[in-house]
């Protein structure tokens, strides 16, 4: 693509008004990520839906290691470029980081940043089939390799599904860098069609937080986003930003809950999705996604009551496979999003617990 330098710069300047940002949260840095999202929204920069859509990759929190670092590398490889990678480790850095990344975006040079070659890389016998969606997506990878497929990657092999039909088996990691996905959770799904045949929890981490209600609002917004109710999600995000002190006024949480409870399409979309029997798990996690959504936006839950103790963590990792197997991919996303605000976070038990925030503060 032979764009001359001046045209490239001009396009870059025009694009500066709408850079797509992919924030990746290191577990524990949720509030940083929320502030970053708010800063992007104020600038009019939308959040990227996938690495192919992203211009800026911003890691929120301290230096990631292990699985998250590997996931970030794959996401970086999947970004087409112009692409810039940045880190946000503390709140005061925030406006500066975004300006810096914008300048780097403008100055990006294609020659200095080549795309990786399309050759699939071999990892000890396993063909990881370099699918450029990083941890969001892995096309086909199976134990016994038949290297005859396109791009040198094995074709998916078939197996009987729940109805006894033979369908291709695909393995899909839902990993840490996926948008609208809890930071501490990694799953490996075995899909046939879009029905989950098996779930393996590869990482599940509970995150101690300072202000659980802000996280609940955040997850309520993400659940609404996944359901498609974007307008309601934006209102909940405004309430979240107000809660974090980022804006002077926000929607009244009581009114917000009423508005959500009145929405009949929302009820029809979420009723019966991801039902959890509150037998071995806290009552709060019980019901279906709709019940959990209402609990997430309920300002009556704005207490510093600590969530279930860390000993419940194995129960969570055991709960997910049983809950998710047999459901569709969409239901998996909705169920995990509804549980994330309730089950994946816990109020800090240290002395620095949040001061009583006025409930239902109408700004």
């Amino acid at each position: 693509m032979g764009l001359s330098a001046t045209v490239d710069r001009l396009l870059g300047r025009l694009a500066l008004g709408r850079l797509h940002v992919l924030p990746v949260e290191v577990p524990g840095a949720g509030e940083l990520r929320m502030r970053l999202e708010h800063a992007c929204r104020v600038r009019g920069w939308p959040l990227a839906t996938s690495p192919a859509d992203a211009d800026l990759l911003v890691v929120c929190g301290s230096e990631p290691h292990g699985d998250l670092a590997a996931a970030l590398d794959r996401v970086w490889q999947a970004m087409p470029g112009p692409r810039v990678r940045g880190t946000l480790s503390a709140v005061p850095e925030l406006p500066g980081v975004l300006d810096e990344l914008a300048a780097d975006y403008l100055a990006w040079n294609r020659a200095e940043d080549p795309l990786p070659s399309a050759e699939p890389d071999q990892h000890g016998g396993h063909d990881m089939g370099d699918h450029d969606m990083g941890d969001m997506d892995m096309g086909d990878h199976m134990g016994d390799m038949d290297m005859g497929g396109p791009g040198g990657i094995a074709l998916a092999s078939g197996a009987d599904d729940r109805d006894g039909l033979e369908m291709d088996v695909l393995h899909l990691p839902l990993g840490p860098a996926l948008p609208d996905w809890p930071a501490g959770l990694s799953l490996l799904l075995t899909l046939q069609g879009d029905v989950v045949a098996a779930v393996e929890v590869t990482a599940a981490q509970r995150i101690p937080v300072h202000d659980p209600f802000a996280y609940r609002l955040d997850w309520a917004a993400r659940l609404l986003q996944l359901t498609g109710a974007g307008a309601l999600a934006d209102r909940v995000l405004a309430a979240r930003d107000h809660r974090l002190g980022l804006t002077g006024s926000g929607p009244d949480p009581v009114d917000l809950r009423r508005r959500i409870a009145r929405s009949w399409p929302l009820k029809r979309a979420l009723r019966g999705v991801g039902p959890v029997d509150a037998v071995d798990v806290p009552v709060e996690w019980g019901g279906d996604c709709y019940d959990r959504l209402l609990r997430l936006v309920d300002p009556g839950n704005d207490r510093t009551a600590p969530g279930p103790a860390v000993q419940d963590l194995p129960a969570l990792a055991e709960l997910l496979p049983g809950l998710l197997t047999g459901s569709e991919l969409a239901d998996v996303r909705l169920t995990v999003a509804s549980l994330a605000g309730l089950a994946f976070i816990a109020a800090e038990t240290s002395a620095g617990s949040p001061v009583d925030h006025p409930v239902g503060a109408a700004g």
Binding site: L3, S50, H131, D132, P150, D194, G228, A229, A269
Partner: protein, 308 residues
Amino acid sequence: MTDAASAVLSVVLTVVVLGVGGLCAAAFGGVLAGPSVRHGLTLPLAETARLLRQRRRSAPGADLLLWRIAGAGLVLVPLLMLAVVPLGPPPVLDSAVGVVWFNTADVAVWALVWLLGWGANATFALVGAFRFLASALAYELPLMFALTAPAVAAHSLRVTDIVAAQAGLPYVVWMPLAFVVLLVGVAGFSVWGSLGPAAGPDLAGGVLGELSGPDRWLALTGRYLLLVAGSVFTAALFLGGGAGPLLPSWCWLLVKSAVLVAALVVLRNRLVLLRPDRFMEIGWLILLPAALLQLLVVSLLVTVGGWS
């Protein structure tokens, strides 16, 4: 004006209407979504610049030819759809079966959107492609019957005849169900709003998730153009096309189409994503009977009552 000059004018007008319509739809969507009006209005320009500057990439093993054909096709099909609609001068293609032509074009979208998902060689994209096919099974039959109603009333499948037959009363007044069903169909083949789970956020963009650079630009533009083409066609078929006092016919057609496009853009985020299994119920149990009932009523009114 000679035939050749008229034909050239029609072609240019079709392209211009589509282009400007798509631009306005995108800008309007931006104004509704963005932090400020000015930011929203510059959305199409900023996104185009960003995407033109982006490199193309694909997953290994992606079927590049079919994948890119799908993207390009999504921009060509709206042109074909609009070719049969009179925008002032006679249409580019004054076909005697214009309604069927439009229907064929929207069925072609099935293949294009599916190829976008399949060609990418990625799981999320593939799931999105099949979601689209399932949704399409739900909206297509009602759409076909909804298209038949104005044709029955005007005794013709030619779009110019249907527009002319509405000189007295626009069809939306006595065929409201068919009008609504057609609009649902337009949203369906544009992968828009509630009928857009194929490109949904729970699939990390679905069929659009792997696209980058000019390929992405083509697919996104194609969606807007499909929306505009569908709206103009609906305005021609149900709202009387260019009929109206004072203003010239092309102006009225644009105004009516703009109202429909604006309504669809506003409704984009207001409802929920209708997943194919749930939409299937709605399509077959509500929309299809409604379209058939409407067709029955129209047929009775036309044959027995002598309406047209």
